[in-house]
Symmetry: D4
Subunit: 253 residues, 8 copies
C-alpha cells in the first residue's frame, strides 16, 4: 500500500463509499502492507546505489544462480554475481545470454549502464597475488558508476615504489587498500593521506597468515586513523563501501 492507494482509500471514506469500519479493517493490515513502501524505498536505494541485489554464488548450485540471475535480469539492466565458478557462469549464461564472466575476480555480471564517470576513488594493492580482490573492488565500483584509479605492485617492502603515488593518494576522495600477509600497506597509506581508507585484507599468505587473519588483525589495529576494515577477500564489499562514500561526495558537484 503506497501513498497513492492510501489516498484512494481515504477519498472513498470521505465520499462515503467505504464505511469507517471497513477502512479500519483495511488499515489494520497496514503495518505489514505498508512494508511494501519499505520495499519501494529499498528499490529506490538500489537504483541509487547501483544495482538491486547481489548474488552470493559460493554456496548455491549453478541452477539456483542461473534462476536468480534470470529473475534479476528481467528487472534491472545490471546483474552481479560474486564468488562465481565457471560452472555457475555456464548455467547462468544460458538463461542470460549477455552475461559476462571474469575468472580472476570470480564474478559474473550483466552491465547495461552508461560508462563509469565519477572520479575520486583509488584502489591499491601490494602484489600480483592480491589482484583478484582488487579487481573485484574495481569492477564493483565501475558497475556503480565510478571510475577507480588502479595502483598495484607497491608493497611496503619496497617503499620507493609507493612514494611516487603519494599525490594521487592525497587527492583521492576515498581509497580501497587491498593487502594480504602482514597488510602494512593499509597503515602506510593511511599515514600518507587524510582520505578515508577502506581496507580489504586478503587470504594471500601461508602458515601464520591463517587464511588472511594476520592481515585482518593488522588492519583492525592500524595505528593510522581513518582506516575501516572489510571481511577477508571481500573486494565486492570494499568497492561497494567506497562507491557509497564517493557518490555522496561527487553528487554535490
Amino acid at each position: 500500500m503506497n501513498q497513492q492507494t492510501l489516498h484512494q482509500l481515504l477519498s472513498r471514506v470521505a465520499a462515503g463509499d467505504v464505511a469507517v469500519d471497513d477502512a479500519l479493517l483495511a488499515l489494520r493490515s497496514l503495518p505489514f502492507e505498508s512494508v511494501d513502501d519499505f520495499a519501494t524505498l529499498d528499490h529506490h536505494r538500489s537504483l541509487r546505489s547501483g544495482f538491486p541485489e547481489v548474488i552470493y554464488c559460493e554456496s548455491k548450485t549453478p541452477a539456483q544462480v542461473a534462476a536468480i540471475a534470470a529473475r534479476l535480469a528481467e528487472r534491472s539492466p545490471r546483474v552481479l554475481g560474486t564468488r562465481a565458478s565457471a560452472e555457475h557462469f555456464a548455467a547462468a549464461s544460458q538463461l542470460v545470454p549477455d552475461l559476462r564472466y571474469n575468472e580472476l575476480a570470480r564474478r559474473l555480471w550483466l552491465i547495461g549502464n552508461p560508462a563509469p564517470r565519477h572520479e575520486g576513488v583509488v584502489v591499491i594493492c601490494a602484489g600480483t597475488s592480491d589482484l583478484p580482490v582488487l579487481e573485484e573492488a574495481a569492477l564493483t565500483l565501475e558497475m556503480m558508476g565510478h571510475r577507480p584509479q588502479r595502483i598495484f605492485d607497491v608493497g611496503v617492502a619496497g617503499l620507493h615504489r609507493l612514494l611516487p603515488h603519494v599525490p594521487t593518494l592525497q587527492n583521492a576522495n576515498v581509497i580501497v587498500a587491498v593487502a594480504g600477509m602482514e597488510a602494512a600497506l593499509a597503515s602506510v597509506v593511511g599515514g600518507l593521506t587524510d582520505a578515508p581508507v577502506i581496507a580489504v585484507p586478503t587470504s594471500v599468505g601461508y602458515g601464520a597468515s591463517f587464511g588472511g587473519v594476520a592481515a585482518l588483525l593488522a588492519m583492525l589495529n592500524s595505528c593510522a586513523s581513518g582506516v575501516a576494515v572489510m571481511n577477508i577477500d571481500n573486494g565486492f564489499g570494499g568497492g561497494h563501501m567506497a562507491a557509497l562514500i564517493n557518490q555522496r561526495i561527487v553528487k554535490k558537484d
Copy 2:
C-alpha cells in the same frame, strides 16, 4: 497510534471534520507511530513471559542501574538485574527499597508476583562450583511463575549419584543442565531422557577450560539429540528459555 485513535481519525474523515489530505499526512507517519502497536504487543509479551525488561548490570554504573531499576519498578511489580555487584545493589536499593539481592547468583530483583506454581522444569548441575549459575536459572524460573526442581552434586565422575534421579529427568517437561569443565553432564542427561535439554556451560575450570570454552564446545557437540546450548554462565538465559517452553506446555492444562 492504536486501533482506537485510528478509528477516531477515520470517523472524522467520514464526518468531513478532517480533510483527506490532512488525514493522509497523519497516516504517512503511521508506519512508525503504529510501532507503538508493536510496543503494546511487546508489552503483552512481557507480561506473558514474566517481566518487561532485564537489566544487564555488568557494564553499567551503579547510578545507571539504579535509575533503570527505579523506572522499571514504576511500571511492573517485577524487576530483575543480572550480573549485579554489591555496589549496583547498594545504589539501586536506595531508589527501590524493596529490592532484594542474591550475592551467589549476582542478581538483584523485586518480586511482586504470586508464588511460583508451574511444575515440570528440572535444573541440574554437577558440582558446588556450578551453583551460582544454577541458582540464576532457578530464580529466573521462579520469577516467571515456575517451580523448578533442583538437582546438584551429580557429576558424571560418580555416575551412581546421577542414576537415582533418572525418573525425575524422564518425567520433566524441560531440563536446564548446568556444567563446567568437560560438561559431560549434558550428554549423559540428554541420553537418559527425551525431554528437551537446555545446556548452560559454566566458566568453572582452569587451564584448557579456557573460561568455559571447553564446556561450551562439548555441549554443542553433544552426541545426544535434544540438547541446545546457551552462552557461558548464562543462567538467566537458560532459565528464561526453559520458562518459555514450559509455559507453553502447562498452559494447556
Copy 3:
C-alpha cells in the same frame, strides 16, 4: 531381565524350584541385565520421539552405512542418515530398496509413518545458501510427525521481507532459525516473538566467518532472550529439538 522374568524367578524361589543361592547368583548380574530395561525404556523413548537411532554418515564407509541402515530397517519403519553422500546412498539403497535420498539436505531416509500432522513449528532462514540446513531441520520434523511451516529469503539486510511474517512467528509454538554469516536473524526473530527459538548457525560465509564460527558466536550472544543454539550446520539437531518441544505442547491438545 524385565519385570515378567523377574516375577517368574521370584515365583520359582517361592515355589522352592530355585534355591536362594542360585537366585542370588542370577540376581547379582541384575544391575547389568536390568540394563535391558533401560534399553526398553530407551526403545519406548525412540518410538515416542520418532525414530530409534540416526546414522551419522560422514566418517563412515558406504558399506558401514549400508549395513547399519539395513539392520535398522528391520526394526523400524523409519531410518534416517545425516550427512550422507551419494555413495552412501548408492550402497545403502541396494540393501534397503525403498530408501530415499535428498542431495540438498545430504540425507537418506526411509519413511513408513503416517503424514506429519502436528502444527506449531516454524523453520526460517535468511538466504538460499542456508536452504540445505533448513531442509534438514524440516525433514527431521516431518519424520517425527510435525508439519513445519517454512519461511526463507528473509535476511535482515532487507527487513521489510521479514515483517509480513511477524504474526506467523508470534503464533508459533517453537521456531528453528537458520542463518550463516553474522546470523542477526536469530536475534531479530527472538525479539519479535516470545516463542522459544532454536538457532542453527550455518557455515555459509567466507573469510572471517571461519566456517560458521561468527554465526555461532552471534547466536550465543543474542541480546534477545529465548534463543538456544545448536552446533554449526546441525539442521537435524535443530529439527529434533523443536520436535521434542512441540510434541510436549501439542500432546496436551
Copy 4:
C-alpha cells in the same frame, strides 16, 4: 626545507654567496629535510582533519601523558587523549590547566575550536552499556567540527524502538553504529539505509563474546553491504573515520 628556503638557497648559489659544494652538502640532506615538507603537509592534514596528534594513554605513565599533552597544547588549541585514566588526567591537568576529562569515555581533551557545525553524522548504539564507546565517537566528531546526532537504546531485541529512527538513518551522510554482544544492530541499520556505516564492536558481553570478538566477527560478516568495521571499542577511530567522510561531503556545500 620548503619551497621558499629552497628558492633562497638556489638564489644564493646563483649570486655566488654559497659555493656549489656547500649547497651540495645542504641539498644532500634534502630528501630527508624535504621530509619537513611532508610534515608540513601532514600538519595541513592535521588542521583539516581536526587535531594534530592523538595521545593513546593506555600504556603510558601519567608523567608521559602530561608531558606530551603539554607539548601538543603549545602547538594547537586542540588536544585529545584516549583511554585516559583519572591519574592521567590529574597529571596532565597540572601542566595544561584547561584540560577537560570525561570519565565515561575515558578521554581528556582541550578544545579551542569553534562549536561543531557540520550536520550529517548519526551515532547509534543499542544499549546503555555501549554508551562510553558511542560517547568517544561523538566527542571525536565534535572536536573535528561535526555535530553528530545521537541515537541509543535501540537494540534489535526490540525492533520497534529502532524503526522510528529510520528516516534519520536514511538521511544521514554517514552512520557510526556501536554494538556489543551479537552486534546485529550494524546489519539491521545497514539494511535500512544506503548511507555508509562505520561499525564499532564493543567488548560489552560475557562468556562467548570473548571481549568483543563475537561482535567484531558479526560486523565483518554483515550481510548488508556498506558496513566497514573498526577495532573493538575503538570509538575514537569510528568517529574519526566518519568525520573524514563527512567533511568531504559537506565541504562541497
Copy 5:
C-alpha cells in the same frame, strides 16, 4: 541394597515371609538402590586409590570448602583440597583443626595415612617457576602412598644438567614431567627412557605462551612416544595418574 540384604530378601521369599509381589515391588527399585553397590565399589576404589574425594576449591566460597572438608574428615583420615587460597584454609582449619596448608602448591590437606613407601615415580620439572605444580603432583603422590623422587632445575636450555639424571629416568616406573614455556622437557625425557611419561604443562611464560597453551600443544605433539598429557597446571591430576599406574606395578611386588 548389597548382596547381604538381597540374600535376606530372597530367604524371606523362600520362607514365605514375603509375598512374591511384595518382593517384586522391592526389587523394581533395585536398579537404583543397587546403585548403592556402585557407591560401595566406588568407596573401595577410593580407599585403594588413596582418598575419597578431592575438593576443587577455586570456584567455591571459604564457607563451602570448610563445610565439605569437615564432612569428608568425618569419613576419612585423608582430605585434599586443590587450588586453595589462604582464605579457604583459614575457614576450613577452624572446622578441621589438624588441616595443613602449602601455599606454594595452593593445597590444603589432612593426612592420616602411614608414611609413603612405594618407590618408582619420578617427578621432574625444568625451572623454579614450575615448582608449585611439581609440588602439587608430589604431594598428591605422597598422600596416595608413593615416595616420588624430585628432580628440578634441569631445563633443556642446559642439557648437561639433565644428563646426570638419565639412569634415574630409565629406572623409573612412571615419570611426571612438568614444564612451561615450550615444554621441550617432556619430549627430551620421553626420548631418554621407555617409562611412561605423564606430561603436565604449566602456565609459566608470557606473550605467545598463552597461559600454558604453547606448552600444552608441544606436549600433545611430542615426537617421543609414551607421553600422555594433563590439563595446564594440573599437578594434582599428574600425580594422581602416576599413582594409579605405579600402584598397579608395585602391588605385584
Copy 6:
C-alpha cells in the same frame, strides 16, 4: 664404547701398550662415542618396547617410506608405518614383500613376533566413526605383545550400552578410551574405574568440533581423575602408551 672396551683400553695403557697421549685422543671422543652406548641402550629399549622406530608416513613420499621401511626390515622383524596411504604401501611392499596394510587404520606393518599374549588392556570407543583410531591403538598394542580387549558402540547417549562392560573396565590394567564429538566417554569411563585411562580424542564431528578440538578439550578437562590425553587421532600413541604401562605391570607376573 662400553665398559668392556673401556677396560681393555685402560689395561693396555697400564701395560704400556698404549701411550697416554694416544689413549687421551681416544677418550676425547668418548663423550660422543659413549653416545653409542646411549644408542645401544636405546636399541635395548626398542626391543623391550616392541619395535625400533615408527615411520610417520604422512609428509613423506612413497619412495622415502619404501626406503626407510626396507632399511628397518633388515634390522628388525617388526616394521610399522602410521598414516600410510595406499601409494605408500604400494611402493614399500615392492621392497618389503611381506609388508601388510590396513586401510581403515591407515597403517602398514611387518610383523615377525610371536602372538600377542599380555592381557589387561581395554580399548573402547563410542561409535563406528571412531573405529580407525581404535584399530590403530589395538594393532599397535598387538605388535608390542599385548592382547587388547575391544569394546565399541557404547556412546554415552545410550548409557545402558556401556554399563554391562563396567566389570571389564574395572578389572583392566589400563584403558584406551577413543572418542570424538564431545568425548564424554572418557569422563564416564574414568568415573567408573580406577584403572588409568589413556584418552584419545578423534576428529569425528563437524562444525564446532573443530577437527577434534572439542573432544581434546573435553578430555583435558575431565572431572574424573586418572585420565591423560594424547593428540587428536593419535591411536598409535594411545596404544603405545598403554603398552608401556601394561608391560611394566605384567612383567611382574
Copy 7:
C-alpha cells in the same frame, strides 16, 4: 637524481646556465625523483644480498609467474620462485629455458652466479618430513653465495643422534633449525651453542599441531636465548635471514 647529477645542476645554476626558477622546478620533483636513488640503493642491496626479487608463486597463475620470471631473467642472472608448482615451472621454463626446478622444495630458479663459497651456516632438521623446508633454506643460502652444512635425522626423541653434531653447532656462525610437531629441536640446539639460531617451524604433524602452530608457539617460547622465529614452512626466509647474518660476518675475513 644522484649526487653527480645534483652537482651538475648546481654548477649550471652557479654558472648562470640554468635559471633559479628552472632549477627550482627540477628540484621540486626531487623528493620523488630522489626515490630513484632509493631504488638504486635498493638495487645495490639486491646485488649484495644475492638476488633482486623473489617470486612468491602460490597465488599467481602460471602465466603470471612465467612473465615475471622472464622479466627478472633479463635483468639478473639469478631468478628464484618459491612455492612453485609443476605447472608454474612448465609455463616459466618456456620463456626462460635454463630455469631449473626442485619439486621437493617447490622452487624454480635460474642460477648464474659462481659456486657458493661462504662457510659458517648450519641447516638442521629433525625428520625426513621436514626436508622440503630445510632444502628451501639450503638452496636459498647457496644462491646467495653460502655453502650451508646440512644435518638431519636428529630429532630430540633420540638425543644421542644429535650429540655428535654438537661441535659443528658450536662452531657455526649461524644456524637454521627446522622442525615440526613440538619443535623441541630449536630449544635443544639453542641450549647447546651460542650461535644465533633462526628457527623455522614446519607444518609437519596432525591434530593439535594445527598446521604448524604448535611448533611455532614452541619456538617463540624457547627457554634458550638466541632463538628467533620465521613463519611456518618459511624455509626461504630462514635461509635468507641466515645469509644476511653470515655475509656480514664473513665479509670481515
Copy 8:
C-alpha cells in the same frame, strides 16, 4: 673432568699409581662428569655472550629471586633479572646491595663489566608505549658489551619521521624493531635495509590486538625478507639475539 684432569688420570694409570679398576670406576661416571666439560664450555659461552644465567622473575617469589641473585652474584659481576617487580628488587637488593632496578623495563641488574663499546646495533620502536620493551632490549645489549643506537617515535602512521633515519638503518649490523598494534614498522624497516631485523612484537594495543597477537602475526608474515621474530614483549630476547649476531660481526675487527 676436563682434558687436563683426564691426562693426569691416565698418567697415573700408566705410572701404576692408579689401578685399572679404580680408573675404570672413575671413568664410568665420565659420561656425566664429562658433562662438567659441557658446563665449562657453557661457562665459557656465558662469559663470551655476556652473562651466565638470566633470572626470569615473573613466576618466582621475591625470596626465590633474591636467593638466586645472591648465588649468581658470587660467581659473576653481571646479574640480570627480567620481569622483576619492585618487590623482587626490594628482596634481592638486601642480599645484593649494589643491585640496580629499572621500573620501566621491569629489570634488576648488577653490572660490573666495562662500558659498552661495540657499535652496530640499532634498536627502534614506534611509540612511547613500546619504550619498556625497547629499553629491555637496549639494556641487555649494553650488559653484553654493545652500544645500541636508540630510535623511537617513528611509527609508520607518520612515515616522514622514519625517513631521516634510513642511512642509520642501512649502516647497521643488526636492527631490533619493537612495535605493537599492527607492527608495520618491522616490514617497513625490513624493506629499507638489508641488515637482519630482529622483530619484537609488543602487547601495546587493545581489542583485536589480543595482547600482541596481531603484532606477532604481522611480523611473522612480513613481506620483507630478513625479519625474524621473538615472543611478545620479549625485549630481553631481542637484545640477546642481536648481541649474539653483532659480536660475531665485530669480533673480526
